[in-house]
């Protein structure tokens, strides 16, 4: 296995050749803005959860470059199948801040995506969306469409049979799908070394006869470039691949977790030095493409966007009781209509 592909070093200095898009400063600031928005959202979501106004929430702190880099490499006509920690990718693709909050607040309307209509909702049962991605990709291939599916899951997911089956199926059918392992080094309290004896997760792809490689997941330029290559390959009919993006989960697993039970502050703080936002900011600063003023303006506007979305979310009325039944089937069967009527009238009577 080659060492992970990387363009920017942890200190933000370019250590490799820049891919074409990265020579365009506007492209880079777009990536930067998206990562900052993601982190701003993250902070707000945690605050809402801590004050009882949002459900259990999975932070993406420190992993923004994977999420944003992957989405930035996709075309809108591609389809994203995320796990539950890819807020950055969802935002990039047009899921709204308010939809994200509705989802994490426990409201199905958060999945109705006014934006990317074909994208899948978050997948909570770890790794179980991997075969869906193969199905989506197979649909593209059968219809001769130059599109690809992107499935993101965590390091823990690579132990699940569903993921192994999906990789193998994708290989057999040369399905245009790219699997991304968001390797944040932890599956709740289980570090990668207890998850598998394999020295890399990328090599799990070889079991399926498909290419696997590693990328520095805190380097958004490298992530985007790697995904662009993989997606082009997939869209061109050359088959699936898997990319292991090495990053680090700087936060607790979710707001319900207390990571101090199983890892030390020192361990974590080492990784702050490698985090993706600082890294790209340093690079942009060095280029003089970014400065303190622009930074402040960005933080302000991200904050405003997020606050506006939060207010809308908090103002949103609950769905009516009848909604509990709607969409269970295309057409509600008689007995379900009866249950619906019963529930609605019972609840009205209370």
């Amino acid at each position: 296995m080659d060492s992970p592909y990387r363009v920017l070093g942890p200190d933000g200095r370019a250590i490799g050749a820049l891919p074409t898009f990265a020579k365009d400063v506007d492209e880079l600031t777009k990536l930067y803005r998206a990562m900052v928005l993601t982190r701003t959202f993250d902070t707000k979501a945690i605050a809402l959860q801590r004050t009882g106004r949002l459900g259990t929430y999975a932070s993406s702190l420190g992993q923004e470059a994977v999420s944003v880099g992957v989405a930035a490499a996709m075309q809108l006509s591609d389809v994203l199948l995320p796990s539950f920690r890819e807020h950055g990718a969802q935002l990039w693709r047009g899921v709204t801040l308010e939809e994200l909050l509705l989802y994490w607040g426990g409201d199905e309307r958060g999945n109705a995506f006014t934006g990317p209509r074909e994208d899948f909702p978050n997948c909570v049962p770890v790794g179980s969306h991997a075969p869906h991605a193969v199905g989506v990709a197979l649909a593209f291939r059968l219809r001769n469409e130059a599109r690809a599916a992107v499935c993101i899951f965590g390091d823990g997911a690579t132990s699940k049979g569903d993921v192994a089956e999906a990789l193998n199926l994708a290989g057999v059918w040369k399905a245009p799908v790219v699997f991304v392992v968001n390797n944040n080094r932890w599956a709740i309290s289980i570090p990668v070394a207890k998850q598998t004896a394999a020295p890399t997760l990328a090599q799990k792809a070889f079991a399926a006869g498909i290419p696997g490689s590693q990328v520095d997941g805190n380097d958004v330029i490298a992530v985007r470039a790697t995904l662009e290559r993989a997606l082009e390959r997939a869209r061109a009919g050359a088959g699936p691949s898997m990319i292991e993006a090495l990053t680090y989960r700087l936060s607790d697993h979710t707001t319900a977790d207390d990571a101090s039970r199983y890892r030390s502050d020192e361990d974590v703080s080492k990784h702050w030095a490698e985090e993706p936002i600082l890294r790209l900011r340093s690079y942009l600063f060095a280029l003089r493409a970014w400065d303190k003023e622009r930074e402040e303006a960005l933080l302000l506007s991200c904050g405003q966007d997020v606050e506006r979305a939060a207010a809308a979310y908090l103002d949103s009325e609950l769905q009516p009781a009848a909604a509990m039944f709607e969409h269970t089937y295309a057409e509600l069967p008689t007995d379900l209509v009866e249950q619906q009527t019963g529930a609605v009238s019972y609840l009205r009577g209370l």
Partner: protein, 327 residues
Amino acid sequence: MPDLNLVQAINLALRRAMADDPTVLVLGEDVGINGGVFRATDGLWKLYGDSRVLDTPLAEAGITGVSIGLAAQGFRPVLEIQFSGFAYACIDQILNHASRLRKRTMGRLTCPMVLRSPTGGGIHAIEHHSESPEAMFAHIPGLKVVIPSSPQGAYGLLLAAIRDPDPIIFLEPTRLYRSAKDEVADDGASIPLGRCIVLRTGRDVTLVSWGGMVKDTLEAANRLATDHRIDAEVIDVATLKPLDSATVIDSVKRTGRLVVVHEAPLTCGFGAEIAARVAHQALTSLLAPIERVTGCDTMMPYPRLEHLYMPQAERIAEAVRRTVAYS
């Protein structure tokens, strides 16, 4: 109209569905050149090739998941699971995803897939090849569960299932694959899902069954008519979920007696659901305790004892006589 057995009727329905609708795909282990281990997909691969008839690797959960992805993209995958004993591996994908994709996206994504699988015993098969898992699937909201009991029924119900916009578990009684024969009209007519089929009207007692047990139940009814002047109504449930309770309830209200027959183990079998609905909606009409004639709460025996496990016409008849004699 040709005389077809049940597996031929399935094959005919698949041919019709594929001819009518280019989004219908068939996939599963050995469904291609081999035509399925029971030949349900015989000839389809020759007609439609690899792009519509997909042999799959051996991975039941995975191919269920793939079907979900295909369905979300507008295809209508018809997935064959070789035996329902291997469909337990699909429950996770079916329950956690297929059944709720529409709900959880408020209709933005849907899952019009059919999972076909042989069900039940009576073919002297090796272990895991004689399972009757219908009740487990019938507990899952968002699914439909269909079990035909005749070739013509299989044809019409399968067409309806494939045309349905929601995910369907379609269980085919293995022992009828070759033994049942019908004149099957290839008229493309589907039989509506969600309706029980009254196979025999009667005044004295209501017998409810589905799939492979319908034949034995009818046989019991016929014997009872001849030998004991007991006039039994026989209902083939056909669609277990959503259940057409009305037909069963109406019948029991007339007959006052109910015997449910199935092959799956007693406890938490689908017979319990029917009994519970009747005990709720037709209690005062009941003249006798509700009987269930079912498999036992042990696993299906290996073939040598299998015949002792499955309800047969005589055991059904005995229960009916007990019910009718009750006062």
